[in-house]
Amino acid sequence: MSTSTPVNTNGTKASNAAKPSKAGAVADWADSRLGLATAMKKNLRKVFPDHWSFMLGEIALWSFVVLLLTGTFLTLWYRPSMGETVYHGSFQQLNGLEMSEAYSSTLNISFDVRAGLLMRQMHHWAAMLFIAGMMVHLLRVYFTGAFRKPRELNWVIGCLLLLLGTLEGFTGYSLPDDLLSGTGIRAADGFIKSMPVVGTYISFFLFGGEFPGDSIIPRLYTVHVLLIPGVLLGLIAAHMLLLVYHKHTQWPGPGRTNENVVGYPMLPVYAAKAGGFFFIVFGVTALLGGFLSINPIWRYGPYNPSEVTAGSQPDWYMGWPDGLLRIMPGWESNFWGVTIGWNVLVPIIIMPGVMFTILLMLPFIESWITGDKRDHHLLQRPRNAPTRTALMVALMTFYGISWMAGGNDIIAIVFHLSINSITYFNRVAVFLGPIIAFIITRRWCISLQRHDNETLLHGYETGVIMRDASGGYTEKHLPLPVADQYTLTARDRDEIYQIESATDENGVQAPGTRKERLRASLSSWWYRNNQQKPTRAELEAAHHHAADEAAHDAPLVGQRADGHQFDGRHGTEGDDLAHHKD
């Protein structure tokens, strides 16, 4: 178009935009009222990195959705009442028995509501998976260092979710009012009463009088279907918003830095993956609910405070404090007419609080010790943080042994062991186990670090054995592909925290020195034995060495059956060892 003649803009008719498609019209209608287009445009293209371990949290998220769906179904028939009624439903063994309306309606759901038992079982399995999913997600986040700045608060939210999920599970476990759940409430009443001074008051407040009263089931119901789910939803929303705000962490690799995120956009790839995973979680829960009998309340019978059954255990996530309760010696003290039952107070009230506080504080403890205040968006392999990894494995060992102790009677009958021996073993193991696990894990990580450094400097083992002129045998090592070398070296060097000066300019002890000294020695303990990645000089020297070796082998190339066909540096096409015959 010539620039000398101006464009004729004086058309006789106004230009019209093409008629929008139906979907476009709807989108336009919504956008002009909600103004979401800008936000959606950005967020639908939000990039997420790809790794299986990043999907563990989704197990919890989707189980929660299954819980909401099946839970809503159950509320349609469940009656949260301790009013007495006589059962006349389909289950013959309990026919004509007096029971609470809560139990009767749960039996009704199980036997007389279409798909009711499936929904009940799916709800229970989803609850087990919800908390298990949160825990494996927590372990992934911790072991990879994804909790570091700027994500500490999201760690805290995650911990609160775990705590609330556990409470939600416990309240749900109590609702059917069968013998097992009633035993659980009875135990909870005992735990509350073990708290000195305030225990009895709290118990009477919760139960509306002495146990069992007639208000605990309706109260737990409100907590279970309204209060905790509401808080859970809010926290899950905050957890996800923070995830979007911080952007997802990623594994280091070529092209992946602390400043970018490499992956696929939300639409269509991640929407499909995450949406698909929801259906998988739903399907697995449905299969579990359809084929595996969970909490067969009709076998337990209605709750009656004078009855109890062997194998009375909480659901798995409450198993570890129950285990501590089972191995705790029966210690008791009396002060001025007040009895303190340490045997209940310590394992059930104090220990969960201590463990939860430790869990909550882990990111803050680590960043204080290391003095690391930088932003981290690249993940660390567990081996590259040996003390951290070992610390979590020690905590897991403590958890595992306590958990095992919670199933001591089942272990005893299944494996024909003495329950006393199991208890004595666990009493020792709960202290020794974590220490041993810590030492082994830390050394293991350090060995893996050494191995990484060795492959960087000397190449990987090819499995090709070479015989030299003098008859000696050596295994051929080849340098790692450059991308792998990059990935292995894309980590920071650990810096042990140093005190600047113990004294000020006047030779007087500087303020806060004692704290700083502790910090320096902890930092040294945290990092001291770690293997640092090779320096540039070391790598260059190693590369020279590798080049020399290649030059040394060069004259052998082309010899018959010299093995070089398989050393990775030469193509093997057209080379047929089987035809070399003497």
């Binding site: 063994q93 399995w125 097992l180 009998s293 009855e307 059954t309 062997a310 194998g311």
Partner: protein
């Protein structure tokens, strides 16, 4: 008529005679002889004629069996053996009654294969007759509960009312050790309450009556024979009832449920996560194809 009979007899005799030199003849005769001897012995043998057996005879036979199989622990007169340290090597059987013997020997718990915290249920070593003889002998040592008759423990025709009562009695008296589904439970020191599923009505009745091993005695004053039958009818009803929820995972309560949540649930879901992450978008595949 007579003639025809005669001719039939002579024809059979002739047929037998013709085959007398057959190579099967000698074994056949031997077999017939043995069967005849065995049948005669069975007919006149006192062991099988338990109905007509006099009780003193059974006691005497039971004593012989006792001396061989039981006396090494329970003493030659069933008086029990006390070790040098004053511990119980084998308890006294005086006054335990025939029901105890019928339970312990009838479920294979006795004779014990080895000393241990508790005698486990195993293959029954004695025949029914021998067990009744042993029971008769032990019953003769002192008064005790006798072996219950079928009418004592028979619950056929028991309906809803009994089953419901039985369930309540079961949950009040039994579940604390035997578990809500009768799957068994642990007791201190390697002892245990055994599984109740598949145990015969008679043996349950006898166990209630005699309190074997760790079990307390539920005498007829504590649980009337009717109560006992109600409990049995509840247990038997449960055995006849299908597993409504699916596979019971041992009916052991939340421990096995938790194990399945982790192994089957989380295990499968993590597997799927790995699968989803490894099947990535097509962009990547094309990239791999070109490299």
């Amino acid at each position: 008529m007579r003639l025809r009979l005669k001719s039939t007899a002579s024809r059979v005799a002739g047929a037998v005679s013709r085959r007398r030199r057959s190579r099967f003849a000698a074994p056949a005769v031997l077999l017939i002889g043995l069967l005849a001897t065995g049948a005669t012995y069975y007919a006149v043998s006192p062991a099988s004629a338990s109905g007509s057996d006099s009780s003193t005879d059974a006691v005497a036979k039971g004593r012989n069996l006792f001396l061989v199989g039981c006396a090494s622990c329970h003493g030659q007169n069933g008086e029990g053996i006390v070790t040098k340290r004053g511990k119980n090597y084998g308890p006294s059987l005086i006054g335990v009654g025939g029901a105890a013997v019928d339970f312990q020997v009838g479920t294979g718990r006795m004779p014990m294969a080895a000393p241990g915290p508790q005698a486990p249920e195993k293959k029954v070593t004695y025949s029914k007759t021998e067990i009744s003889q042993l029971a008769a002998y032990v019953a003769s040592l002192g008064p005790g509960e006798s072996v219950p008759s079928k009418s004592d423990y028979d619950t056929s025709g028991y309906g809803t009312e009994s089953i419901r009562r039985g369930g309540e009695l079961f949950r009040t008296n039994c579940t604390a050790c035997h578990n809500f589904a009768g799957s068994g439970g642990a007791l201190p020191g390697g002892k245990y309450a055994p599984k109740l599923v598949g145990v015969s009505s008679k043996h349950i009745y006898e166990a209630l009556l005699t309190g074997p091993q760790q079990m307390p005695v539920f005498s007829n004053d504590v649980l009337t024979p009717q109560d006992k039958r109600d409990i049995i009818s509840y247990l038997k009803k449960n055995e006849r009832t299908q597993g409504y929820g699916g596979f019971s995972m041992g009916a052991l309560g939340p421990v096995s449920e938790g194990m399945f949540a982790w192994l089957a649930g989380i295990g499968v879901l993590v597997g799927f996560a790995v699968w989803i992450a490894s099947h990535t978008a097509r962009v990547r595949k094309r990239e791999e194809g070109t490299s």
